[in-house]
């Protein structure tokens, strides 16, 4: 067996010079410290993305976009297609877990100040990937064309439409018209399976190249240590195999969730029906949705909801450019403000999500 593998490797090496790559990877090291565990969440996010692509392609074999066929095709997938239920349920769960692991990855990078020079672009590309992930979530939510997805898309696009000046054009762009119709479904389907995956792949490529090029970031306290005091492990094969081990655990988790909590379908969307009671967006939008409820109708001359959206927009923008205004961390100095802001953001998200959930 070993001989066969080796001869196959030699065959490829002769043509692709794989030795150079293996040599490069073999020289890459991952720091070992008390917070090393957070390094794995980038790989876990990648795993969920791969799962999403694989299951998404399988669903595409049967899914038919269109207000007359979408719901029925999902119903068909769930009841008639062999393991269709499993593929759709895994797709649904992996989508949520991707966002969760990406958020954890983002906060771990934030608190370790791994975004500091020279990794500003890695941070920005990562944030873009997170936003794209949310875009995947929003666009994919409508595809089953059920009551919940229909009205959630209506509410979600209405919120986007409340943004001054650019809101209305964005809303029309999202909906493919003035209201949520079959045109919205076709459009969001296009976003979900073509536009977003294309952009995501490019940004992900940049993100991974940057990581490989710049190596894994060391926390400030580790970076300060003498080279001899630092503990590391080779990226290949040690870290990669550990990543793979975690992927297998995640695969088990996905299977358990898909079997015990399969994706639901609900009732087919009816544009003339009333919105189902207690309509809520996906959990990762819930904190924003809930926050907007607390804004009064008007604050001075501006509508409360508009102000809320603008504030969130400003907060996300500031968050995205944190490597550029957190100069202290880039200089290798300690910046407590960043930690306080991060903790406040986490508390805010958790509390508002819980309030939104129980509301």
């Amino acid at each position: 067996m070993k001989k066969i593998v080796k001869s196959f490797y030699d065959y490829l090496d002769e043509r692709l010079h794989l030795d150079d790559l293996v040599h490069f990877m073999g020289k890459k090291y991952v720091p070992i410290h008390s917070h090393s565990v957070w390094y794995y969440f980038g790989g876990v996010s990648l795993f969920f993305f791969i799962v999403q692509v694989s299951t998404g392609i399988l669903l595409l074999f049967y899914y038919k976009a269109g207000p007359d066929l979408a719901f029925e095709s999902i119903q068909y997938i769930m009841s008639k297609v062999q393991f269709g239920w499993l593929i759709r349920s895994i797709h649904g769960w992996a989508a949520n877990l991707f966002i969760l692991s990406a958020v954890i990855h983002m906060f771990s990078v934030y608190f370790e100040k791994a975004y500091r020079k020279p990794r500003e672009l890695t941070w920005i590309s990562g944030m873009l990937l997170l936003f794209l992930g949310m875009g995947f979530g929003f666009s994919g939510y409508l595809l089953p064309w059920n009551e919940l997805s229909f009205f959630a898309t209506k509410v979600g696009s209405d919120i986007a439409g409340a943004v001054p000046i650019i809101g209305e054009p964005i809303k029309i762009l999202m909906r493919g018209g003035l209201d949520v119709t079959g045109a919205t479904l076709s459009r969001l389907f296009g976003f979900h399976v073509a536009l977003f995956p294309g952009i995501f792949t490019i940004v992900l490529g940049i993100h991974l190249i940057l990581i490989q090029r710049q190596g894994i970031s060391e926390p400030r306290r580790i970076a300060k240590l003498d080279q001899k005091e630092k503990k590391t492990m080779p990226f290949f094969p040690n870290f990669m195999l550990r990543d793979l081990l975690l992927w297998l655990v995640m695969l088990n988790l996905l299977a358990i969730l898909a079997v015990f909590f399969p994706a639901e379908l609900g009732h087919k969307a009816d544009a003339f029906g009333s919105a189902p009671a207690g309509i809520k967006p996906e959990w990762y939008f819930l904190f924003m949705f809930q926050s907007l409820k607390y804004f009064p109708a008007h604050i001075l001359f501006i509508e409360g909801e508009v102000l809320g959206i603008l504030l969130f927009g400003a907060a996300f923008a500031l968050w995205m450019i944190v490597p550029f205004w957190d100069r202290k961390s880039s200089r290798g100095e300690r910046n407590k403000l960043i930690n306080y802001l991060g903790m406040a953001a986490i508390m805010f998200i958790i509390v508002l999500t819980i309030l939104g959930w129980i509301a």
């Binding site: 119903q75 769930m78 009841s79 239920w85 499993l86 492990m233 080779p234 094969p237 040690n238 195999l241 550990r242 793979l244 081990l245 297998l248 655990v249 695969l251 088990n252 299977a255 358990i256 079997v259 909590f261 399969p262 379908l265």
Partner: protein, 492 residues
């Protein structure tokens, strides 16, 4: 003989009393004295109950009835009002008839809300001229010759009511000024009804127009307060028909209303307020109310239950029932106390209506057909219960079972169709519906839900297996990592 002499003596005395009273009034009432010379209304007024109670012309027309000077008596200064016109007519009547103390003064116990009721009625609300309402008191009671309602001479005496109402209601030209679509054949139909025929024979007890529609407060049929609004009809009819004392002598039962309230029709109408459900008039007619005869029962029921009636008419039972002079629908379903048609009516058990005629020894063909038909229905019921149980179980397990659930609508539809098809009394046709449309679908739903439940367990067993394989792989990988790391450590 003694009795006849007593009656004649009494009549002579009464005549003397009223003549004396009229004479007394004559001497005081200058209006009457003058108008008597002229004839006409004064002659009528002489018979008027108001005249007999001592009420002068001035009671309605105003003026000074004691003055023999015509100019003075009929002057404005004397309060002369002249001939009332339009709505003023009813208001003049109400001057006394709406005042209890005034009525008591003349020894009357009549109600004093007539004008109030009239104003709320369809007659008191509608108008073509815009100046006066359709009906004034005098329209029905006359003006100068008003007599007691109990008097056969009164236009509102029960025997006269149909013609009084018919004066307008049978006049198409007059009625179309108010409602071009309104029927004008009510009196003609009434005369064909049992009520109308008895009325024509001089019996004042059977219902006439006012018995059902009311008198002063007549409302439109569509008005929920009307006595003949669909929901109120059974109660209105029962006023007489449930009164055993009142109905004594007519030799008909008085439990129809009680039975109707227990019936499927009664519950639908009186409890669920479904005005499309039949009330008394739906089967008996309203103005031409007559009990449907044996031959016409199925036609009456068939106005709503059209398919059932058609199937029955072309079934072998039609001829058999006609021969035995059995009322068609009523024989199995009864009349006033019609209960929901359940499967218990079908078959050969004691409760089944089929067994009334078909037994193992008598009319045996029908006996075996009924038995088979009941078996089909029972099989469908059993299969439906099982299918619903399994669908529910599969749903509880989170399985996608909407298609099977949707199929159960066909089973329900087949059961509904079977309730109609049973009236063909044709086993093959019945089987086609119950087995072909119902049982086959129900069985398919059972199979689908069983497969869904089996799939539920397959998923769990599959999960256990996949977890075992993945975990084994993970464990191998872990061991491999350990091995590599140990190797690396030993090199250092």
């Amino acid at each position: 003989m003694k009795k006849i002499i007593f009656i004649i003596f009494t009549l002579v005395l009464l005549n003397g009393y009223f003549s004396l009273k009229a004479q007394t009034l004559k001497s005081d009432d200058q209006c009457y004295l003058c108008h008597e010379q002229l004839g006409g209304v004064a002659d009528l007024f002489k018979k008027d109950i108001h005249f007999q109670k001592g009420i002068s012309c001035a009671g309605c027309h105003g003026g000074n009835s004691k003055s023999d000077d015509m100019l003075e008596a009929m002057s404005k200064a004397s309060g002369y009002l002249g001939v009332p016109k339009g709505d003023d007519i009813s208001l003049r009547c109400a001057n006394c008839h709406a005042k209890k103390e005034m009525m008591q003064k003349y020894g009357s116990h009549l109600p004093t809300n007539q004008l109030e009721l009239l104003k709320a009625s369809v007659h008191g609300k509608l108008s073509t001229t815009g100046k006066e309402k359709i009906v004034q008191c005098t329209t029905c009671h006359n003006a100068h010759g008003i007599v007691s309602v109990k008097s056969p001479a009164s236009p509102v005496y029960p025997l006269n009511v149909p013609n009084t109402c018919g004066k307008c209601h049978s006049n198409a030209k007059f009625m179309q000024t108010y409602n071009p679509k309104i029927a004008v054949d009510q009196v003609a139909k009434y005369r064909t009804s049992v009520h109308g025929m008895l009325n024509a024979k001089g019996d004042p007890k059977p219902a006439e127009c006012a018995s059902c529609h009311g008198s002063h407060g007549i409302r439109a049929v569509a008005d929920t307060k009307s006595q003949v609004y669909a929901l109120n009809i059974p109660e209105t009819c029962s006023t007489c028909h449930s009164d055993a004392q009142y109905m004594a002598g007519y030799k008909i039962p008085t439990d129809q209303f009680a039975k109707y309230t227990r019936s499927v029709h009664g519950k639908q109408l009186l409890e669920k307020h479904d005005i499309s459900a039949p009330a008394c008039n739906s089967c008996h007619g309203n103005h031409g109310a007559t009990p449907p005869e044996v031959a016409s029962v199925s036609k009456v029921c068939g106005t709503c239950h059209a398919l059932n009636a058609d199937l029955f008419s072309s079934s072998p039972h039609k001829q058999a029932f006609d021969k035995a002079k059995l009322p068609e629908c009523e024989t199995c379903h009864s009349n006033h106390e019609i209960m929901p048609a359940t499967k218990a009516m079908l078959g050969v058990s004691k409760e089944a209506v089929c067994s009334k005629c078909h037994t193992e020894t008598k009319s045996t063909k029908g006996y075996f057909v009924a038995q088979k038909m009941r078996n089909y229905v029972d099989s469908l019921d059993v299969s439906e219960v099982l299918a619903l149980k399994l669908i529910n179980e599969a749903e509880q397990k989170g399985m996608e079972i909407s298609e099977a659930k949707f199929k159960m609508r066909d089973v329900h539809q087949a059961k509904l169709e079977a309730r109609t098809m049973v009236h063909s009394f044709n086993e093959e046709k019945f089987k086609e519906v119950v087995v072909g449309k119902g049982l086959s679908v129900s069985k398919a739903a059972v199979t689908e839900s069983q497969a869904a439940i089996a799939d539920y367990f397959f998923r769990r067993y599959g999960l256990v297996l996949s977890i075992l394989i993945t975990s084994l792989l993970a464990l191998t990988l872990y061991m491999y990592i350990k091995k590599i790391e140990e190797k690396q450590a030993s090199k250092l």
